[in-house]
Every structure is written in structure tokens, then in C-alpha cells.
């Protein structure tokens, strides 16, 4: 099985990735697929901004605009931001805790393929009669009234992708609870691992409400149920609650791992221990808890009544406290550090003021009475882009530069990286800062055009120019990736020179078994501790021995493919006779594959001690 040193043909590489259960390869799959959807969502954003660049524009029609807008939001949240974070979680978290893989490698692969097929299904709507058009929130009265199959694509695609996310989250939880290396106590875990842990817990609790909501929607639209139809005794508000009980934790599922990435970057490039480590952990967990108590701040204007609004307003504002703790800790980490302004560090430094602005507008929106003015205006659009772009996307870009060497063994070009950063930063503020004021003047959200002479022209034009700057920045990043990959200059274990956590003690990229010997962890930032003690490597915690590895498997792909096919059956059953057989065939593939998995024993294989020692002679250090 030790074929890792030899060159392989293209077909073999593709087959390898289709069947892989290795967390590092699954990370690359998430990065590629998430990156693809990010570009797609970005393209949709450009269409939105072009349409709104001038008043009375007819670049796209009103109906098409709704579809583009909906797909932009849905794609960015479910198919770009979350999978890209999953990419870094997969790539880095097992290394950070000193594990050889995640707890359930098979499920890891299944999670990816479910997300992938869900995303493809959703996007096939463009070619099969029109995309969903009820917004990424898909409020029930609107989405039940929507004609064609757009919303069906939304419901079924999200259902499949959502299963994948849930599986991924549970897998990370079990991994962190059970697979930490000797000495890696909870309070020695790097913050990225901690935030992965809390975000996974949020996934565990937040996705079931979404699953239920989407099931109701599916049944209302495709099987004649009436959960949300008030004329039949249903209640349309239930969708809003279920969606936001999921939806607000969802924004924390995105931002917490981003905080984690930034925490690593701040400590690394300030060359200092993270300030207030335990308060950071505490704040992360607290944000996780409070994240479940505030969902109704998205529904202040629904008519919940003053008492409910007041409770949720206070709870919402309370979240600003742990968030503030984190902001101060990052600043104090930099304070007195010997700071190195690498590309990731630039993003981290720019993140602080950008995110704080988003937080401040968040507290403004959280004041329920004031929200009656802001709600459904561009002010809200500005708010959530400041937190999502200024927080999550900055973290993703920073993480791409920071972890690229660990994932691929090459360094992205720093000059191009900095050009990307400046273009993106300027473009971002240009695009979204002005939208605060557009909103306050009264420009409603989700409109496909506006009239001249209402004071909205300049703001919208500036906003569109900013969007173009961000697009250019993204293109520079792509060029950077291509140049770096073509040059293919390999780097060593710790290419930034200041690595603190376990992943930097390993070669870039690490061997497929990660650790030849599990490392002994002697404190927070274990690799830094060893370096400070003059050691070049981690102290091993065990003698060299055989390593048990899982076999590759094609079954996750088949299980997901089955659901993908079944989803077409569910959707077309309503208007074609062949729908039902397709539904049954798809489910048969899924359950058949699961059956094969349960019946056939797969014990994996062992890498033998002798092979490991031989590797060492050839210079493959672990």
C-alpha cells in the first residue's frame, strides 16, 4: 500500500481523490469545491452590482435578478464559506491535536460528497427551468407561491448538503474529544481547534431545525402538505422561526472558526503567546451558547410583541460582551509583540476594525425599536457584509495564505498576496461602507432597480466600483495560485519560521499517516515550547510501531450520488410519471451502498514499522 512516493497518472490521481478518506486530501477537495462555488457566488454578486450600478438599469430582468440574488446568498453561505472553513478544519485540526486522522475517515468523505452533490443539484436549477427566487431565507409564504421548480431545488439541494455538514460536524466533535495526543488537554488545544469544536457543536444543534424546516417546505411543495399554509390551518411564521433558530447559530458557525484562524495568525506573527488564552476559550464557548438565544432579532418586525422583542434585544446585545473580550485579547496579543506584517497578518490586522464596525451596526440593529427603521434596508446588507466579508472572508483569504504551505508544500507569493489584500480591503470598504447610508436614506433591500433623482445614484455607483476591485483582487489571487503551483518550490516544516502549534512540526505537506510517532505535548503551543528548549522536533510519546490505516472507499460517492438521483425523482414526480421510479432507484443506490458498507468487513491495513524506518533513511522526516 505504500505507493505514496511514486508518480501516478491523471486517472489514478482522480480515482484516488474520488475514494480518499485522508483528511488532508478531503481538505483539498473542500478547498477546490468551496473555491469553485465562491467564484460562482462572486460572479452572481458582480451581476447584482452591475444591475444596480445605474438607475433604471435593465442588465437583467426583475425575475432573473431575484434568482441571482437568492443563489448568491445561498451559494456563499452554504456552498462557499462553510466548505472553505471545513477545508481548513480538515487540513489543520487533526494535525493541531496530534491525531493521525479524524475519528471517522469514511464519514468525512461521505460528508464531503453529500455537500458536493447537494451544491451541484442546487446549481443545476440554472439549466433546468430557473433557480430559486425567494431569497436565501426562503420565507414560506413567498417560497410556496414561487412557480416552477426553483424552490424545490433549494429545498432538496440544501437537505442533501445539510446532511453532509451535520456529518462533518459530528465527526470533528468526536475527533477532538477522543483523538488528542498524549498531553494535549482541553486547555492546551490551539484556539483554531477550540473554535472548530464549538462551531461543530453549533452545527450539531443548529442543523436539525433547518432539516425539519426544509422537510416541511419539501412536503408542502411536493407532497401536498400544509405546514406553512394558513388557509389550511398551517402557520407561515413557523418557517421563519425554524430558519432563524438555525440561521443565527449558522453565522457563528462561520465566524467562530474565522476567529480561530485569526487567533493563530495573531500569535504566530506577533511571536507571542495568545493573550488571555483561557478567556478566549471562555468567550468562544459563551458566544456558542448565547448564539442560540437570539434568533428572533431577525424577526423583530414580524409582530412578536414587545416582551419577546425586548428579551431578544437584550440577549442579542449581550453577545457583544464576549466578542469584545476577544477583540481586546487580539489587540493585547499584538501589544509588545515583534510583529511581522506577512499577508495573513495584514488580513488579521484589517479584520479588527472591519469586524468591529459590523459588530457595532449589529448592536444598533439589535435595538428592537430602532430596527423597525433599519429592517430590510441596505443598512442590514451593510451590517452582515461587514461581519461576513470583514470577518469570515478575510479569515478565509488569510487562512489560504497561512496554511497553503502546509496543504500543498509551496508558498504563495507574498507580493501578489499583498496586492490582493490591498485591492480587496479597499474594494470591500468602498462597496459596503456607503451602503449604510443608502440604507439610512431609505433604499430597500432586495430591489432589482431604483429610480433616478432620489439621491441613490452616487452611492450605488461607488458600491459597484468597489465590487470590481474585489473581483480584481480575486483574479490576482488566482494568478498567484497558478504561478506558485507551476513554480512548485517546496518548503520545509515551518515555512513561516514562527510556527507555534503541532502542524508546523510536520513536513509540508505531512506524510499520509501524519505522525510517525504521536508527539508528547508539554503545554500550550507545543512546537514553540520544543523550539525554545532547543529541540528540532517534538518529543515522541510512543516507540515506532505499526500504524493502522483505513482503506480508500468509493461507497461515500455512491451513497451521495443515490440521494442526488432520488432528489430529481422527488421533484419531477409531480409532473412526470418517471419521477417515482427515479426516486426509488436513487434510494436503492443509497441504501444498497450503505448495505454493502455494513455487510462487507473492511479492516484497513497496517503500515509496518520497517517501512516507516526505511522512510526515515530516505529522508522523509515525520
Amino acid at each position: 500500500m505504500s505507493t505514496y512516493a511514486q508518480k501516478k497518472g491523471v486517472g489514478a490521481v482522480i480515482w484516488d481523490y474520488l475514494t480518499t478518506v485522508d483528511h488532508k486530501k478531503i481538505a483539498i477537495l473542500y478547498l477546490i469545491a468551496g473555491g469553485f462555488f465562491f467564484l460562482l457566488g462572486g460572479l452572481e454578486a458582480m451581476f447584482i452590482r452591475i444591475q444596480l450600478a445605474i438607475p433604471n438599469n435593465n442588465f437583467v430582468s426583475a425575475g432573473l435578478y431575484n434568482e441571482i440574488l437568492t443563489m448568491h446568498g445561498t451559494t456563499m453561505i452554504f456552498l462557499a464559506a462553510m466548505p472553505l472553513l471545513f477545508a481548513f478544519m480538515n487540513a489543520v485540526m487533526p494535525l493541531q491535536i496530534g491525531a493521525r486522522d479524524v475519528a471517522f475517515p469514511f464519514l468525512n468523505s461521505l460528508g464531503f460528497w453529500l455537500f458536493f452533490f447537494g451544491g451541484i443539484f442546487l446549481n443545476l436549477s440554472w439549466f433546468l427551468g430557473g433557480a430559486p427566487d425567494a431569497g436565501w431565507t426562503s420565507y414560506a409564504s413567498l417560497s410556496l407561491a414561487s412557480e416552477g421548480h426553483g424552490i424545490d431545488f433549494y429545498a432538496l439541494g440544501l437537505q442533501i448538503a445539510g446532511f453532509g455538514t451535520l456529518i462533518g460536524g459530528i465527526n470533528f466533535l468526536v475527533t477532538i474529544i477522543n483523538m488528542r495526543a498524549p498531553g494535549m488537554t482541553y486547555m492546551r488545544m490551539p484556539l483554531f481547534t477550540w473554535s472548530t469544536f464549538v462551531a461543530s457543536a453549533l452545527i450539531l444543534f443548529a442543523f436539525p431545525p433547518l432539516t425539519i424546516g426544509v422537510f416541511f417546505l419539501t412536503f408542502d411543495r411536493m407532497f401536498g402538505a400544509n405546514f406553512f399554509d394558513h388557509t389550511m390551518g398551517g402557520n407561515t411564521i413557523i418557517w421563519e422561526h425554524l430558519f432563524w433558530i438555525f440561521g443565527h447559530p449558522e453565522v457563528y458557525i462561520l465566524i467562530l472558526p474565522s476567529f480561530g484562524i485569526f487567533s493563530e495568525i495573531f500569535a504566530t506573527f506577533s511571536r507571542k503567546r495568545l493573550f488571555g488564552y483561557s478567556s478566549m476559550v471562555f468567550a468562544t464557548v459563551l458566544i456558542g451558547f448565547l448564539g442560540f438565544m437570539v434568533w428572533a432579532h431577525h424577526m423583530f418586525t414580524t409582530g412578536l410583541g414587545p416582551i419577546a422583542n425586548a428579551i431578544f434585544a437584550v440577549a442579542t446585545m449581550a453577545i457583544a460582551v464576549p466578542t469584545g473580550i476577544k477583540i481586546f485579547n487580539w489587540i493585547f496579543t499584538m501589544w509588545g509583540g515583534s510583529i511581522k506584517f506577512t499577508t495573513p497578518m495584514l488580513y488579521a490586522v484589517a479584520f479588527i476594525p472591519s469586524f468591529v464596525m459590523g459588530g457595532v451596526t449589529g448592536v444598533m440593529l439589535g435595538a428592537a425599536a430602532a430596527d423597525y427603521q433599519y429592517h430590510d434596508t441596505y443598512f442590514v446588507v451593510a451590517h452582515f457584509h461587514y461581519v461576513i466579508v470583514g470577518g469570515v472572508v478575510f479569515a478565509l483569504l488569510a487562512g489560504t495564505h497561512f496554511y497553503w504551505p502546509k496543504m500543498f508544500g509551496t508558498m504563495l507569493n507574498e507580493l501578489l498576496g499583498k496586492i490582493t489584500f490591498w485591492l480587496f480591503l479597499i474594494g470591500f470598504h468602498l462597496t459596503f461602507f456607503i451602503q449604510h447610508f443608502l440604507g439610512l436614506i431609505g433604499m430597500p433591500r432586495r430591489i432589482f432597480t431604483f429610480l433616478p433623482g432620489q439621491g441613490l445614484e452616487t452611492g450605488n455607483l461607488i458600491s459597484t466600483i468597489g465590487a470590481f476591485l474585489m473581483a480584481v483582487a480575486t483574479i490576482v489571487l488566482l494568478v498567484n495560485i497558478v504561478i506558485t503551483s507551476v513554480k512548485n518550490v517546496k518548503v520545509g516544516n515551518d515555512p513561516w519560521g514562527d510556527g507555534r502549534t503541532l502542524e508546523w512540526a510536520l513536513p509540508s505537506p505531512p506524510p499520509f499517516y501524519n505522525f510517525k510517532q504521536l508527539p508528547l505535548v508539554r503545554g500550550l503551543d507545543p512546537y514553540w515550547i520544543e523550539k525554545m528548549n532547543g529541540n528540532k522536533e517534538m518529543t515522541p510519546a510512543e516507540p515506532i510501531g505499526d500504524i493502522h490505516m483505513p482503506n480508500n472507499s468509493f461507497i461515500p460517492f455512491m451513497i451521495s450520488l443515490g440521494l442526488f438521483i432520488a432528489a430529481f425523482g422527488v421533484m419531477y414526480r409531480v409532473d412526470h410519471a418517471w419521477g417515482l421510479p427515479v426516486l426509488i432507484a436513487g434510494l436503492a443506490i443509497t441504501f444498497g451502498s450503505m448495505m454493502v458498507r455494513s455487510i462487507k468487513d473492511d479492516h484497513g491495513y497496517h503500515i509496518h514499522k520497517e517501512d516507516l524506518l526505511e522512510d526515515e533513511d530516505k529522508g522523509v522526516k515525520a
Partner: protein, 111 residues
Amino acid sequence: MANQQPTTGNPRVDIEYRRRKNAEEMRYQVITFSLMIFLTLMAFAAVGFGDFSSWFIAPFIILLAVVQVIFQLYYFMHMSHKGHEAVQLFLYSGVLVAAVTILAFTTIIWW
């Protein structure tokens, strides 16, 4: 838990202590088992005999069910033993989230 020695591999396990511990455990299980049967009978009785209003019966049965779940978790699934902290944390977090949801649905959506 990765660095915790499995207790069974230890040759110096105090057999006598183990036996006493097991006997004690067994006694608790028998007691809870009879209590659980008793609670079940109570639930049936509440519905079958006497005419209580459904406003009493439904909360009463739910309360009994909660008690039974706690018995089940702590005495039969050993949640009181060491090494179940993570399980407890997640169980109670789940209960909390679900409770908040139910509270919201019953107060601001339906009534």
C-alpha cells in the same frame, strides 16, 4: 482520555473493592427498576382510574417520563460514572436548546 490507563489492564485491581462496588450498583439498579415500574403504573392509573382533567394528566405523565429518562441515563447507562463529562455537557446543551425552542413555540407562536 487518550492518556488514561485502561483500568482493566491493571493487574493490581482490588477485586474485593470491585465486588463490593458491583453489588452496590446492582442494588441501585433493582431499586430503580422497581421504581420505574411503579411510575409506569402511576401513569396508567392517571389515565385509567379517577377522572382527572387532561390539564392534569398530560403534564403529570410528561413529568413521570422525565424522571424515567433520568433514571435510565444515570442508573442503567452509567452517566454518573467518571468519563461521561462530554456526554453530559452535550446532553444538557441539547436539552437547553430544545427547551428554549419549545418555550418560544408555545409562548409566541401558538398561543
